[in-house]
Amino acid sequence: MTSPSAVDRHVLDALLESVGGDQEFLGELLDTYFEDAPQLITAMQAAVAAGEAEELRRAAHSLKSTSATFGAMDLSAKCKDLEMMAKSGALEGAEAQIAVVATEYERAKAELETVQRGS
């Protein structure tokens, strides 16, 4: 049984259409995402370690936004949960949620890289 897709292809297709079908530019966007996402996850971990709810909120919000842009909807949803947690100021459980986000990111990245190689 195949696991559910980490990336909504319709969203990705709509993104490609919105950039005028420019595959090269889409590739540039994906490369940027692959560089920035791990930094955001690291920033989340540092924020939780320092007890900085606002920093955690910003990093989660940013990753939520761009993950949704590329169709990584599950990852986006998990980032939103983390964002809401940070917004409420309650950081208990945030560390575990960041681990979930990190795992989901790897899943989304693998699928996006497959799409990128195929284009």
């Binding site: 993104l15 919105s18 950039v19 920035d36 909120r57 910003r58 919000h61 761009t66 949704a68 939103k80």
Partner: protein
Amino acid sequence: MAGTSGHVLVVDDNRVNRLMLCHALEGQGHQVSTAEDGRQALQLLRSEQQGTFDVILLDILMPELDGYQVLEQVKADDRLHHIPVIMISAVDEMDSVIRCIEMGATDYLPKPFNPALLRARLNASLAEKQLRDLELEYLEQVGYVIDAAAKVEAATFDAESLDGVAARDDALGQLARVFQHMAREVYAREQRLKQQVQKLRIELDQSRQAQQVAEITETDYFQQLQSRAEDLRRIIDGA
């Protein structure tokens, strides 16, 4: 609505968002500058580029200064408050968007953004700014005509100072041209009047001098002196 181009400032801490917006905006013919956070945005707005920005696309959640703080400072700054601000927001941030609009933001653009919606909202904001710029320019030129009126009263008016306003092809331009013409006419009449007064003065002086001469030469004593001078001349000539 016909498209217009402008200089757009994109303020977003997310690199992917900045890239996407730049790509779309440049494709639509706009000049784009970017800032990673609110502090950088305000530095750019207040730099030598001040006066060149036509619209600001502003994210809400950012490090350093967030969107609310940037918006507040832009609206409080006389040099910047006329620039339309479009908030970039996620769909679950409607409360934040409403707050920003109450603070003076012109419009909002949901993320992930739709290029057609971006074009429509940007064009609407650009048209609003251009109208405001025209209004400000008009008020400035009305000010020149008002200054000119004060200078006419103080007799320090230079008709050429209204040449810029007089070049307009609207009612204000016509007013300025009439004003210049009337001022030049008044000046010309003053000059003619001065010349006439000068001429009269000369004639008056000459008349006074003639009168003074006559007062001396028409006296009995002067005529006796003249008669004696003639007698002496006859004696000398006869000798």
